[in-house]
């Protein structure tokens, strides 16, 4: 009988193994090389010499969605592009996370106005978003903070203490 052979969800936990896996995932996020607009240049700067995302194990930019587990939506998604972005998200294997980088990806940003005909007002209308990084465009430090935030979401603790305001 099929009902009997089915294992109910959540019956078996590999608590320690899950934690170890999460730690491994958080320290080797593979983002997708996917530049939409202005924010992509700041994403490039984050990956390049000064800011060096490799310090957080996050430098392996992959052009193919099949090899990625992190999608950084950096820029405006317009209605012509939206089906392609959704397809890319669907093509990424689970588990996968999304960072909405910049105001355009969060809400439409400076391109949102009454009677607009072109853009999608926030990428979270297309698929779920884990971390929002505001800014127009956000500084590379802000993107790194977004990645630290995502790591915290994965492992439950923060890699680095929050810098004090002073």
């Amino acid at each position: 009988m099929e009902e009997q052979t089915e294992v109910p969800q959540g019956l078996i936990h590999f608590a320690v193994l899950d934690k170890a896996l999460d730690l491994a995932r958080a320290n080797s996020l593979w983002p997708m090389t996917f530049g939409l607009a202005c924010c992509a240049i700041e994403m490039m700067a984050t990956g390049a010499s000064r800011f060096d995302m490799a310090r957080f194990g996050c430098e392996v930019f992959r052009p193919s969605p099949r090899q990625c587990d992190l999608m950084i939506v950096c820029g405006t998604v317009n209605k012509k592009m939206a089906p392609a972005v959704s397809t890319l998200y669907d093509q990424m294997p689970e588990p996968k996370w999304v960072i909405a980088m910049g105001n355009c990806a969060i809400s439409g940003g400076p391109f949102k106005f009454p009677g607009q005909y072109g853009i999608v007002e926030g990428v979270d209308k297309l698929f779920p978003v884990d971390v929002y990084v505001p800014g127009c465009p956000p500084r590379p430090e802000a993107l790194i903070e977004g990645i630290l935030q995502l790591e915290k979401k994965l492992t439950g603790r923060r890699r680095w203490p929050v810098a004090s305001a002073s």
Partner: protein, 163 residues
Amino acid sequence: MSLENLTKKFLEIAVQSAPPAPGPDTPAAEPQPLVVATQHAVKGYDLDVTVPPERVLDAARIMDEAAFMLESITGVDWLAEQQLEVVYDYTCLVSGARVTVRARVPRATPELPSIEALHPGANWHEREAHDFFGLIFTGHPGLIALLLPEDATFHPLLKDFSA
């Protein structure tokens, strides 16, 4: 080719327009061709030519023979007059002189000939103007949407457009 020679050539194809009569008693002035020499430092172009829509191809030929480059094609929607203005910007690569060619078409039938055969760069500019204003360039090899989605049926830069 000097601007004087260009002016002479444009005089043959430009729109004839009479300035409005100054008073009810005085007769209207003789119609003059709309070829205006402008100051580059004030306007940004040296020659302002208005041609009838069916003559834009002749204007393009004059510009091509003078080795001018087509810089852009754009539309302006004059809703009050129920007209669409099409503006062609040409520039000379040697002297930096700039010529603006205008043509006005009625909003109901926005048709004018394509200049794609003479200036291949016009292909995209005309498709863009078609996207934004619904202008129809007859003779264009493929007047399909360029910037808007393929299935778009609206023309967003018309003044009476609302999403």
